[in-house]
């Protein structure tokens, strides 16, 4: 632990650098092989991340650079993580085929397994609706919900089978997910659980992740097409933009508190900021090759990126 602390402090001193337009980038090294897939900033200022190969939930304290990794159990391979209304990290664990909760104080690990008959779901990403229920996706063709108060779990077959990937809630608590293999987004009826497919304008675009802006418009990162698109639930209208570069591959999307749209582009090995007002992109190239940022999430003034390919968490400070 002491070693991580020293390394972290070194990073704090060495890696903070201005990046133009008021954005400062800071890189935090993680233990070798951490391979952070997804992350979630926590209310206490720390950042949780999933370590798939280690079967662990990691926690970075950005103030000190200190890192700890909490084992989630034999066979664990966590993918997504989100902080719930209870302040705890909730994890979609593909290896365990279960939703996992870690108590942020005691570090106790709780597990909500998928029903036996459902088979291997390849669990992907969680989100919370406006009623305190967790919704999740499974890439092998399911989505579902978990009520943390009762433990009641419902699992549904996804339209067109395999593909459900990113999932997110809008400010009014509505839940949307993206299907990577199905090339659509869907809105979930929170009462019946029924998913209504909403087709993006580009065929076979590879909708990978979704996020909402403050107005409830749904932003979509399109892996196959290298585009970002926006769906307005009130009008039903779409608008689409191609990322810059020769062959963009849009993996992750996150919209910050000022409605700036943040994307990860594997084609350019970069984080890309999109301003919907000016329709201009700003590119932040990664400082190492093959950073492979698979998800983005933030809190006011900060956008966090897990670099699975470099074993680092990187923060883009915007104020």
């Amino acid at each position: 632990m002491r070693q991580f602390l020293v390394v972290g402090l070194t990073a704090l001193l060495a890696s903070a650098a201005p990046a133009g337009a008021g954005t400062e980038i800071q890189e935090f090294p993680l233990p070798a092989g951490a391979y952070p897939h997804d992350l979630a900033p926590a209310p206490d200022g720390s950042v949780w991340y999933t370590s798939q190969p280690r079967g662990a939930l990691g926690r970075l304290d950005p103030a000190t650079g200190k890192v700890e990794q909490i084992p989630l159990g034999d066979g664990s391979a966590p993918h997504g993580v989100i902080v719930g209304p209870d302040g705890a990290p909730w994890i979609t664990d593909g290896g365990l085929n279960a939703i996992v909760r870690v108590d942020p104080r005691s570090r106790e690990v709780g597990r909500f397994s998928l029903p036996e008959g459902r088979g291997y779901a390849n669990l992907n990403t969680p989100t919370f609706d406006g009623r305190g229920r967790l919704w999740f996706t499974g890439q092998n063709g399911i989505y579902g919900s978990l009520d943390p108060r009762t433990g009641d779990m419902r699992v549904f077959d996804a339209p067109r089978g395999r593909g459900p990937y990113g999932i997110a809630a809008t400010p009014d608590g509505s839940v949307y997910f993206a299907s990577l293999a199905g090339s659509y987004i869907a809105r979930i009826d929170l009462e019946t659980g029924r998913a209504t497919v909403i087709e993006p304008p580009t065929p076979k675009q590879g909708a990978r992740r979704v996020w909402s802006d403050t107005k409830g418009q749904v932003w979509v990162s399109e892996w196959n097409s290298g585009q970002v698109s926006r769906y307005d639930p009130r009008s039903g209208n779409w608008k689409t933009w191609k990322l810059p570069g020769a062959r963009p591959r849009t993996y992750a999307v996150y919209v910050d508190e000022r409605d700036a749209v943040w994307l990860s582009d594997w084609g350019a090995n970069a984080i890309v900021r999109f301003d919907p007002a000016t329709e201009r992109f700003q590119v932040f190239p990664a400082s190492q090759a093959n950073a492979h940022v698979r998800q983005l999430l933030g809190r006011p003034g900060e956008v966090w990126a897990p670099e699975s390919g470099t074993d680092r968490l990187v923060v883009y400070r915007t104020r």
Binding site: A77, A181, G206, S287, Q288, N290
Partner: protein, 134 residues
């Protein structure tokens, strides 16, 4: 060149070396385990040659195929290079090395899968694929 970039290049060279001439350790086949392991691939890969538009290429006819050579799928540059310039052809041995650490053995691959660290699980999967991809 940054330390990180150097590490990736080194890993790539090692990858080229280990892609050739290494036999899989002998172990009895486990069809059920192979099918279960394929469930981790299923979200992106089909065994049906007619099923296109998935995130990954069809695995039909995989063994004996040059890496990155399917005409109706857009591979990463790294995969195309591995096939065209380095002569990577998919065999049980090369697939075993790739699946053990995809990004380490082929830096720049767009396959977003962490890999299978368990050698017995990889063997079961490859046995399964040898039958299912014909």
């Amino acid at each position: 060149m940054s330390p990180g970039r150097g590490r990736h290049v080194t890993a790539g060279l090692i990858g080229c070396a280990v892609f050739t001439g290494i036999a899989l350790a002998a172990a009895p086949p486990d069809p059920a385990r192979g099918a279960r392991a394929f469930a981790k691939c299923y979200a992106c890969h089909s065994l049906d040659p007619a099923e296109t538009g998935l995130p990954g290429p069809t695995l039909h006819g995989l063994f004996g195929r040059r890496a990155g050579s399917l005409p109706d799928y857009e591979f990463s540059e790294a995969m195309v290079e591995a096939g065209r310039r380095q002569g990577l052809v998919w065999t049980p041995e090369t697939l075993d090395r790739f699946l053990a650490d995809p990004e380490g053995t082929l830096p720049g691959t767009l396959m977003g899968f962490v890999g299978l660290r368990d050698a017995a699980e990889r063997r079961a999967l490859i046995e399964y694929l040898q039958r299912a991809t014909r």
